[in-house]
């Protein structure tokens, strides 16, 4: 039995999260007959997770620090509602050991790993040491807590390019690549500033930057009886500012040998920390297929669906079963990868303006459907995208018998996906799905930032765009100038009439 981890049957679970992942967890519970309790901030009263759950409790103002990060309020709701388990999702409190511990102390099942596993993997330096001890290869670098001067000297030793990373960091926050010695001081300052803002801790360290490295990660599942298996790899090299944008399973770069070698190492890493539940070990893989341990995410991953589609394993349901004290249903031999899945993260951001986050009300939303298409989303028509939370509002996942089929399906689905009222990066994805480098599978973690630009492309439909803008402008001028003769309406073929009618209704 893992230390300070309670695993037992439960029939009511509190979802300590919001957005698409809260919906994803509620759906899994619904499919397992587990009743669900949602929590919401002022901004989220009408959010789908509140409407899909069996119960919903308001826990405070919109800022996460006053709602979704309030352990006391969450435990109070669990007590009040009689929920005997908590799923943290990702982000927020998912990788905070004190929350897992608080659940344990309150006699509540925490759907995740034991606190000490979170702690160990949460601290980059300890994680690194643990990995080394378990025989997991790591990237050369410094320990944390050095002064700026010490870091500058260490930088020279490691050599450039290198990375400045926040000790408490994650998701690329407080991370800076440095290519020349003279850039180092500025990068350290910037990283410290961002780390302080994000984690209240400005401690940073240095790490050798593997050029043309790929980000490939291994999904692991571990039960509370010490059984650990892996569900193969995910290719996550398409990133911007270390934020993943497109993920796929399997990786076009990995072969069966690399898969098994990485899988074995990932399982070893998980075992080294007495891991339980679903987790992900992230690796940096160089051109020669050497791989280095980056970090272990001790939680459910945003991109888990691509693995679900290819392995047929419902990862969220497995997490719940494991937390209920069940043994893993699958052995490593049972895990077969079939077909190909790709996920595009739809963010509320403007790809034409340096991916600036975009806020506002979603006026129109049309979700793609049909064969091989899955959408996980937490927004809806009429939803307001606020600046309080992450800009990732939806995940579009497409499956095919092979990579080409998956890509063609993704193109089709993207062309059907309309989200109006806020800017989204859907055009980024449509353009990426046409890019030769992506199609050929030859890309690395630097590709999006350094070698690719969405604005490169041919604008094939300027004339049609001009006509659309002109006709809408014309229609608007008609309305504003009240030139709408009731008689004209019936005969006119232009549908601004229906719109007009709608406005009057």
């Amino acid at each position: 039995m893992a230390e300070n981890l309670l695993t037992q049957k439960f029939d009511k679970l509190l979802v300590a999260n919001r957005g698409e992942i809260a919906v994803r967890i509620i759906r899994a519970c619904h499919e397992l007959g587990i009743r669900t309790v949602a929590v919401y901030s002022d901004a989220d009263r009408n959010a789908p997770h509140v409407r899909y759950a069996d119960e919903a409790y308001h826990i405070g103002p919109s800022p996460a620090a006053e709602s979704y990060l309030r352990v006391d309020k969450l435990l109070e709701v669990a007590k009040k509602s009689g929920a005997t388990a908590v799923h943290p999702g990702y982000g927020f409190l998912a990788e905070r050991a004190h929350f897992a511990q608080a659940c344990y102390d309150a006699g509540i099942v925490f759907v995740g790993p034991p606190p000490n596993a979170i702690d160990t993997m949460g601290n980059k330096q300890v994680a690194r040491a643990t990995a080394v001890a378990a025989g997991v290869p790591v990237v050369p670098g410094t320990e944390a807590g050095l002064s700026d001067d010490e870091l500058l000297t260490a930088g020279e030793k490691i050599g450039f390019p290198l990375l400045v990373k926040a000790a408490a960091g994650g998701g690329g926050k407080g991370m800076r690549p440095v290519h020349k010695a003279e850039e180092l001081a500025g990068a350290i300052a910037g990283a410290r500033r961002e780390a302080l803002a994000s984690f209240g801790d400005g401690t940073v360290y240095l790490e050798k930057l593997i050029t043309h490295g790929r980000h490939i990660e291994i999904q692991v599942l571990a039960d509370s009886f010490g059984n650990v298996i892996h569900l193969g790899e995910r290719e996550c090299s398409l990133q911007r500012r270390h934020q993943k944008l497109v993920e796929e399973c399997p990786s076009p770069f990995a072969d069966e040998d690399l898969r098994q070698r990485m899988g074995a190492v990932a399982v070893a890493a998980a075992k080294a920390v007495g891991y339980v539940s679903a987790g992900t070990v992230e690796f940096l893989v160089d051109q020669e297929k050497n791989f280095y341990f980056l970090e272990m995410n001790t939680r459910l991953q945003v991109e888990h669906p691509v693995t679900e589609l290819v392995t047929g394993v419902d990862i969220v349901q497995e997490m719940l079963r494991i937390a209920r004290g069940r043994k893993l249903r699958q052995t490593q031999a049972d895990i077969k990868m079939e077909g190909w899945a790709i996920e595009c993260r739809v963010n509320a951001e403007d790809p034409y303006q340096n991916y600036m986050p975009s806020t506002g009300k979603i006026t129109t939303m049309r979700i793609p459907t049909g064969p091989g298409v899955r959408v996980d989303t937490g927004v809806f028509e009429g939803a307001v995208i606020s600046p309080y939370y992450d800009s990732m509002i939806s995940k579009l996942i497409c499956y095919g018998n092979n990579r080409a089929e998956a890509i063609l399906r993704m193109r089709r689905a993207l062309s059907e996906y309309h989200i109006l009222g806020v800017q989204t990066n859907i055009p980024f994805h449509e353009s990426m799905m046409e890019t030769h480098r992506f199609l050929s599978g030859y890309f690395d973690t630097q590709f999006v930032e350094n070698e690719w630009s969405i604005t490169e492309h041919a604008y094939d439909h300027e004339r049609e765009a001009a006509i659309m803008a002109t006709l809408v402008a014309y229609e608007q001028s008609l309305r504003s100038s009240q030139m709408v003769a009731p008689g004209a309406r019936d005969t006119s073929n232009w549908k601004w009439l229906s719109r007009w009618e709608r406005l009057k209704r």
Binding site: K173, G190, R193, E194, A197, S198, R241, D350, Y352, Q353, N354, M356, P357, S358, T359, T363, T364, R366, P387, Y389, D390, S391, L414, S415, H418, L420, G421, I426, P427, E430, S431, H457, Y459, D460, H461, E462, R463, E464, A465, A466, I467, M468, A469, T470, L471, V472, A473, Y474, E475, Q476, S492, N493, W494, K495, W496, S498, R499, R502, L503
Partner: protein, 171 residues
């Protein structure tokens, strides 16, 4: 009705003959145009070719059209207005002041430029932190910094004017 519409700096002269015929730069097209709901979604059949797009007026006279995965910036002007403007050399082209607005609520991290500085298109003029990320706001064209309305550490609202650039002689 006749309009002069500019897309990506290309000019189109567009004349609406009736609700089934349109002249674009003198060429005639069969047309069926439908607005779907009130969200800006439109369906255009142009000589039977089907185009679905989203049209949004993000500023007076400035339109944004999302079509087949690409975003087009368009200005639409009544022909007469257009001629007058042209005569006065006041086209909504690359002249006059440009206000750099905050695209969302956030906190100013840094203002790397001062009044009087010459900036090139794409140069970073403001660093804004929002959604826990630092976002660089860039100059939309070559110009001179006329005003800097914010300072580091200051919290700003969506659409708040942060900085104004323009021609040296202007402002």
């Amino acid at each position: 009705m006749k309009y002069i519409t500019t897309v990506n700096k290309k000019e189109f002269s567009i004349e609406l003959l009736d609700d089934k015929q349109i002249l674009v730069n003198g060429e005639s097209f069969e047309l069926d145009f439908q607005m779907l709901g009130s969200g800006g979604l439109v369906s255009l059949l142009l000589n039977q070719r089907s185009f679905e797009g989203a049209v949004d007026e993000h500023d007076e006279g400035w339109w944004q059209v999302l079509l087949r995965g690409e975003v087009y910036e368009a200005t639409v002007q009544d022909e007469r207005v257009y001629r007058l403007a042209k005569a006065r050399g006041e086209l909504a082209a690359d002249t006059g002041e440009v206000m750099i607005k905050s695209p969302m609520p956030g906190v100013i991290v840094k203002t790397p430029v001062q009044v009087g500085d010459t900036v090139r298109q794409g140069q970073t003029v403001i660093i804004l932190e929002s959604m826990k990320m630092e976002n660089e706001l860039k100059a939309t064209r070559d110009a001179v910094v006329l005003t800097v309305k914010v300072a580091a550490g200051q919290a700003v609202e969506k659409n708040e004017v942060l900085l104004v650039i323009g021609d040296a002689d202007a402002g």
